[in-house]
């Protein structure tokens, strides 16, 4: 990116603290590279926290298990620091891409904001850090898109994805529990709105928020493969050619587990699984190097070529 463009952001664009999470730095680099580029095309600069730690991975439900929320809250303190250091200007929101990170930090934040005693204890434990003031808001990238408006997303499209039939898949972590949901938990639409703005044919299936199997994927591949078979199978039956999601774990279970699915069901037809941001970057016409399809298990290239959507 050119300096001139950087300068433009500081003047007019939105600079917002961004929390990547471990998966986006390892197995889901394609999610991050496409998201950062897509955001930039919308005039949004995702400013990575200069220092950050794991989100905590899973929100702990135990009432007396405050230590497991320390990880989340520490990241929120970094947002305060960024404001103080002038890396962002009065921006108290922190954007996440990974649904799991979003869910964990959103809920930890809600919990401590509702309980002054919790904040005090955590601050006390973290005496090397500045105190958490409770003012940071954890938001998901999709919420940010909704806020700037799908009209703006649509205007950023250089090459619409007309003809590409995509089924949005939400999973659980951006919908449940209700207080952490970014959308109607029963009838979410946000992914569909984005896909529509990109010009795709949106295929809605009743399986779009069925659990992907989550961490069972470590111990029980078969169970997860079974869920993937159902979710992908219904999408296929409804006419979809691909899936779009925002969760690296969902993506892994739906994408990589197709290996096990295919072993069990010889008639199974592989289906590409996209991060929504890969489709955005594609439609926005940014350098296709950011798409990083090398990290997708099922190769989406043939499908995209079929629709003449790739540069080469």
């Amino acid at each position: 990116m050119s300096d001139a463009k950087d300068f433009a952001f500081t003047l007019t664009g939105l600079r917002i603290p961004y929390f990547p999470g471990c998966t986006l730095k390892t197995t889901a680099q394609n999610f991050e590279s496409s998201a950062v580029a897509a955001a930039r095309a919308l005039g949004i600069e995702l400013v990575e926290l200069p220092r950050w730690n794991c989100c905590g991975t899973v929100f702990s439900l135990a009432a007396d298990d405050l230590i497991h929320h320390v990880a989340s809250i520490r990241n929120l303190i970094r947002v305060q620091e960024m404001n103080r250091q002038g890396l962002v200007d009065g921006e108290n929101r922190m954007v996440t891409l990974c649904s799991m990170c979003y869910n964990t930090m959103k809920r930890a934040n809600l919990r401590v904001r509702q309980n002054a005693e919790d904040i005090k204890k955590i601050n006390d434990l973290m005496y090397r850090e500045e105190d958490y003031q409770g003012n940071v808001r954890v938001i998901h990238f999709l919420e940010l898109l909704r806020e700037i408006g799908m009209g703006k997303v649509k205007r950023a499209v250089k090459k619409d994805l007309a003809g590409l039939k995509v089924a949005p898949y939400y999973g659980c972590m951006i919908l449940r529990p209700k207080e952490a949901s970014i959308d109607d938990p029963e009838a979410p639409t946000v992914l569909g709105e984005v896909l529509r703005a990109l010009g795709t044919d949106v295929v809605v299936t009743p399986y779009n928020k069925v659990c992907c199997g989550s961490y069972q994927t470590v111990h029980d591949k078969d169970a997860v493969a079974g869920l993937a078979y159902d979710i992908l199978g219904h999408a296929r039956k409804s006419g979809a050619e691909a899936i779009a999601t925002t969760c690296p774990l969902c993506a892994f279970n739906l994408d990589n587990r197709q290996k096990e699915v295919a072993e069990k069901h010889p008639d199974f037809e592989h289906m590409p699984v996209f991060y929504i941001t890969q489709l955005m970057a594609l439609a926005f016409g940014v350098d296709q190097g950011v798409l990083r399809f090398d990290q997708n298990y099922v190769d989406p290239v043939p499908l995209l070529k079929k629709h003449s959507l790739l540069d080469k």
Binding site: K25, R51, W52, N53, G56, V70, A71, R74, E129
Partner: protein
């Protein structure tokens, strides 16, 4: 026959006496009291914990090494008078203070994994393979609080988890492997072993061998400098002096 002593040398030796032999009480003006493993001792003020313990009569065979903050042998835990915080430091670089309670921790039991760098991929998975407990980090930052080098230990553990080898190497570089982080970690991670493996992976895969070095080693192996060395090695003492005095000195950068 005994030679004449040099007064300058004697003055220097006398002035340095407190750094070269046991301290004599008659040289001391200010005193403090510290508690070494529960027993109080009156010791000179302005000493390191190490020197104060020696003054008290301890002759170390453990818990001492370089005495200058490089080796990590003299890890010590202490509480200052009236403070609840358990503090950590190296006995050789921490000033003994009046009312301080302390104990040394001369050894950290921790297993180091065996590996061959060249057979591992350059990825976070290597660190998790050999030290799976690293994934148990809850980001409590206790390790950072314990580090006598003031390193951001938790940050480098987090960097390890996400395969950011450069950050891991940079943040952990000044580690003296004293073990205090590992002793304080509630997740029982051995941070300094993880960092050692990570730094070596970064050195091997991330930095590699620079071209000019490879080239020079090849040249030497092919004998490019053999003749020049045969020549200088055969020089007479006078010729060597002449060559040495006449050589040009490269300027500073």
């Amino acid at each position: 026959m005994e030679e004449i002593k040099n007064p300058v040398m004697d003055i220097i030796a006398e002035a340095n006496r407190s750094a070269t032999s046991g301290i004599d009480a008659k040289d001391i003006k200010d005193w403090i009291t510290i508690s070494i493993m529960g027993r109080a001792y009156k010791v000179p003020a302005d000493l390191t914990i190490l020197a104060a313990m020696e003054y008290a009569g301890y002759k170390f065979v453990r818990g001492v090494g370089c005495r200058q903050g490089f080796c990590g042998a003299c890890a010590t835990v202490f509480r200052k008078k009236g403070e609840y915080k358990l503090q950590t430091g190296m006995a050789c670089g921490t000033r003994a203070e009046d009312g301080m309670h302390l104990a040394q921790i001369p050894f950290t039991p921790a297993e180091k994994a065996s590996y061959d760098l060249t057979k591992e991929p350059y990825s976070a998975s290597v660190l998790i393979k050999y030290y799976p407990e690293v994934a148990r980090c809850v980001s409590c930052n206790t390790c950072t609080k314990a580090c006598p080098q003031d390193l951001e230990v938790m940050d480098y553990v987090q960097a390890a988890l996400r395969g950011d080898f450069e950050l891991l190497a940079t943040d952990s570089f000044d580690c003296i492997q004293c073990g205090l982080c590992a002793l304080r970690c509630p997740s029982e991670i051995v941070q300094y072993h993880v960092a050692q493996l990570g730094r070596r992976l970064y050195g091997y895969y991330g930095l590699g061998v620079p071209e000019h070095l490879k080239k020079r080693v090849e040249e030497i192996e092919k004998g490019r400098y053999a003749k020049a060395l045969d020549t200088v090695i055969a020089f007479s003492n006078d010729e060597l002096r002449k060559q040495y005095v006449g050589r040009d000195i490269e300027p500073e950068q």
